[in-house]
């Protein structure tokens, strides 16, 4: 005679259903976030920013005073920021994910602090007349922002940041007159090069 099986209570099945559904949703969210890293950084936007930086470098090289040179590059920074926000939003829209979903939010949180530090240092260096430090400082901090923001993204993004840091380090060690050339090579050349790679390999 076989012993009577204990009666099943519905509760454990109920918990399992809920847990399983929650686990499935968690899996979906994590997969979408990881997949989103393919798209968070806009390659075409990077190319557009690089092209405006090349133009800015040419215009800046013709300025008669350092203050005007700084003004040209600050205007370029504002333009680049607008282009970046627009193209990130466009890419997020194309992928039907909100602008500040997982990867976008992580990138913004990592990217913003070095950029804020860069703005503060720019003001301090300008006040103290240490203008020769500006190209190196800008390249270093932009590189740091890209490495930090891109640490959750595809590998090419932090690699781009490292290249900016290397260029910034070289700029700090070089004569002040080379500063505009380094800016052109970094914000123009590197930005276009990596923008093309991202656009081709990571969905635009």
């Amino acid at each position: 005679m076989t012993p009577a099986k204990p009666a099943r209570t519905p509760r454990p099945v109920l918990v399992a259903l809920e847990d399983r559904a929650a686990d499935n949703l968690r899996f979906i969210r994590e997969t979408m976030e990881r997949a989103g890293s393919f798209t968070a950084v806009p390659g075409r936007g990077g190319v557009a920013i690089g092209l405006t930086a090349l133009a800015a470098a040419v215009i800046a090289s013709h300025q008669s005073t350092t203050a005007r040179w700084i003004f040209v590059w600050l205007a370029e920074a504002v333009l680049a920021m607008v282009l970046a926000v627009l193209t990130v939003a466009q890419k997020a829209h194309a992928a039907r994910v909100p602008l500040f979903s997982g990867p976008g939010r992580k990138f913004a949180l990592g990217f913003a602090p070095p950029m804020i530090v860069g703005a503060l240092l720019t003001a301090a260096l300008y006040r103290d007349g240490e203008l020769r430090m500006l190209p190196g400082t800008w390249l270093l901090l932009y590189g740091t922002a890209v490495v930090s923001g891109g640490s959750f993204s595809v590998r090419v993004v932090p690699i781009m940041g490292v290249c900016f840091i290397a260029l910034g380090a070289a700029a700090l060690a070089s004569p002040a007159s080379w500063g505009n050339g380094y800016m052109m090579a970094g914000f123009g050349g590197l930005q276009i090069l990596f923008g093309l790679i991202i656009a081709q390999k990571y969905g635009g």
């Binding site: 559904a21 499935n24 979906i28 992928a95 994910v97």
Partner: protein
């Protein structure tokens, strides 16, 4: 998750909640806690991964999906083919230089099925919490 799919999906979720299978109907002795009406094609973990990844991207190549889902060529092709046969995803083959490249996209039918699946999972959780 709902926010990711917009207000249309949110509306659909609330509609589907009203029509959601009652948990009382799911609490039978069935070992597999799967509701009737659940899209089993998407429910399988690898296929759910493929559809989720494509929902977050306009398109992904075979290699990108393989890296993302940490799977093998064979496993990915089997599951991708099933989704393709159900017209949930579309597949484009092209040449990148000399190398063949396969690119997948989520179709409108696939996106609808994915949203239905999300509705279903959220309804199950909500119904369980209301108990």
């Amino acid at each position: 998750m709902r926010a990711k799919l917009g207000t249309a999906t949110a509306e659909r979720i609330s509609r589907s909640h009203a029509q959601a299978p009652r948990l009382s109907a799911l609490r039978g002795e069935n070992q597999e806690p799967v509701a009737s009406g659940l899209d089993r094609l998407i429910h399988e973990r690898m296929r759910l991964g493929i559809v989720s990844a494509l929902a977050a991207n306009p398109s992904l190549t075979f290699n990108e999906l393989k890296a993302l889902l940490r799977t093998t060529d064979g496993n990915l092709s089997v599951h991708a083919r099933k989704l393709e046969e159900a017209t949930y995803i579309s597949c484009t083959k092209m040449l990148d230089g000399r190398l063949p490249k396969t690119r997948y996209r989520l179709t409108a039918a696939g996106r609808r099925a994915f949203e239905r699946y999300l509705d279903h999972m959220e309804s199950l959780i909500r119904a369980a919490r209301e108990k």
